[in-house]
């Protein structure tokens, strides 16, 4: 009976994490370039119960499951909706791929966004990190520049540099770091040839589908409630066992 108490407890804890993920998705439903997370929970491995001490030797009764836990949070790298802004510094990607950004912790990756040209004439993202080109930071010196679909940057029809564009073999190895940046936690050979195309003057919206999120939230909350109901029931039963059974 105490086992059941803990099993229902794992149920409540896991559903809470589901709602945490959903809450984070919904709060980023308007965050351009955000990719939604999907949490996956799995049950603990089955435990085999054996009959002992009944004189017949050990005999298997059957498997018992000891609850559920959160196994993975998978980032869904689906394309978000493209919004036209017409601003030359608004860059995004159609298809697979990322822009490379130089940070103090090493190279990070971003899907796009409202970039700007800083006081040194270098193209930077909102936090001031520089956007990387094949030959170091991109320095257009003006916001009057053209980016070709393959990442070539032109100022006044003169070729400047090519943006460093990357794709990944295994997107599951990309860890979110906040500020819309991704970190490659895999080896360098996880980086693949860029297959998407750079689009200038567009912003990629968040790929969160609020209807789906709300439905999942309702399901998780109800599941949470059911687990709570079971715990209360078990508590009542334990109460009877401890206090009432055997009372004269």
């Amino acid at each position: 009976m105490l086992r059941a108490l803990y099993i229902s407890g794992t149920g409540m804890l896991t559903q809470m994490k589901h709602v945490d993920t959903i809450g984070n998705n919904i709060s980023n439903a308007n965050t351009g370039g955000y990719k939604r997370d999907r949490s996956v929970s799995v049950s603990f491995e089955d435990m085999l119960l054996n009959r002992i001490r009944d004189g017949s030797g050990q005999k298997a009764i059957g498997p018992l499951n000891l609850g559920i836990h959160m196994d993975e949070v998978i980032t869904v790298h689906e394309q978000g909706p493209m919004e036209y802004t017409g601003k030359s510094t608004d860059l995004s990607i159609n298809g697979d791929g990322f822009f490379a950004v130089e940070t103090q912790n090493g190279e990070r990756y971003i899907r796009g966004g409202s970039f700007f040209v800083n006081d040194e004439g270098i193209l930077v993202i909102g936090d001031g990190y520089r956007l990387m080109g094949e030959n170091g930071p991109i320095r257009p010196g003006t916001d009057d520049f053209i980016v070709e679909p393959n990442g070539d940057v032109y100022v006044n029809n003169v070729y400047i540099d090519t943006l460093r564009m990357v794709s990944f073999q295994d997107l599951n190895l990309l860890a979110k770091e906040g500020n819309l940046l991704f970190q490659n936690t895999g080896a360098d050979d996880n980086i693949a040839v860029f297959t998407g195309e750079v689009v200038q003057g567009y912003l990629e919206g968040s790929n969160v589908d609020v209807t789906q999120e709300l439905i999942q939230m309702m399901a998780s909350v109800r599941n949470y409630d059911s687990n709570q109901r079971i715990i209360r029931m078990l508590d009542d039963t334990l109460n009877k066992t401890v206090n009432e059974v055997g009372r004269v």
């Binding site: 709602v19 439903a29 308007n30 949070v73 936090d127 860890a175 949470y224």
Partner: protein, 251 residues
């Protein structure tokens, strides 16, 4: 306490900020030389509970969203013909330079200038009374008889054949780094860079530059932002109910 609660609260806060920015844009729909702003968001840091391994994503939970930056969009506004010879509009990049009388310089796209008749001379001033500066950084004094005065595309103020002054137009490497101080004025900051004079023809006389706010854009964005605000408040409510459920584990 449940993370979703704070994540959704941060979402409400960020959407609220975005609504404020959009409302300011709409309020300035008719403001001469106004440039619209837009809030952009980014996600907050993630708590990594289980790191990723080969072929399997880890478990990391997010903490919500924040306003990353508020971008000012310096694209051209509509040109409005006024017929007033002291109304100027800049076509393309650049700012007028004005001086508030005590040596502080500001930059503006608002070209609705007036005259200020003072004992030392007749000066061109902005609606607030700030002095318009020429390309040398001096106040522009006009002759008392201005019957033949014209201002050409290069900003040269001519009275017949004689050139009175040349209006100073400057641009910045990073105009988004300018600080808006109200009254249609901007101030130079470390991130905007130094003002650089522009020489080419960019001035239109008898025109004003209208606001570059697109009402349709603002209204659709406002509707969407409002909806997402509501959704976030729904999550806060749900997280609260879950806390209540946990609280009722024992009666």
């Amino acid at each position: 306490m449940i993370r979703a609660f704070y994540a959704a609260a941060s979402g409400m806060q960020a959407q609220q900020r975005s609504i404020e920015v959009r409302s300011n844009n709409i309020a300035n729909l008719q403001t001469v030389g106004f440039k619209q702003s837009k809030a952009s968001f980014s996600d907050l840091v993630y708590d990594s509970l289980i790191p990723a391994e080969d072929g399997k994503a880890g478990v990391s939970l997010g903490n919500g969203t924040r306003v990353d930056s508020i971008h000012r969009d310096f694209r051209q506004g509509n040109l409005i013909e006024t017929g007033n010879p002291l109304d100027l509009a800049i076509v393309g990049k650049g700012f007028f330079v004005v001086d508030n009388g005590s040596g502080e310089r500001y930059y503006t796209r608002d070209g609705s200038f007036k005259l200020s008749v003072e004992p030392q001379g007749i000066y061109m001033v902005s609606s607030r009374g700030d002095y318009l500066l020429d390309d040398g950084g001096n106040r522009i004094a006009l002759p008392s008889d201005r019957g033949n005065m014209v201002i050409d595309r290069d900003g040269l103020i001519r009275d017949g054949e004689t050139v009175v002054a040349r209006i100073g137009i400057v641009s910045f490497q990073n105009p988004e780094g300018l600080e808006a101080v109200g009254g249609n004025l901007y101030r130079q900051t470390a991130s905007s860079g130094e003002p650089e004079p522009i020489g080419t023809g960019t001035i239109l006389q008898q025109y004003l530059e209208g606001s570059n706010v697109d009402l349709l854009d603002e209204m659709t964005a406002l509707l969407r932002t409002h909806r997402i605000f509501q959704l976030n408040s729904r999550v806060v409510q749900t997280a609260d109910e879950m806390e209540g459920t946990a609280n009722n584990l024992r009666t």
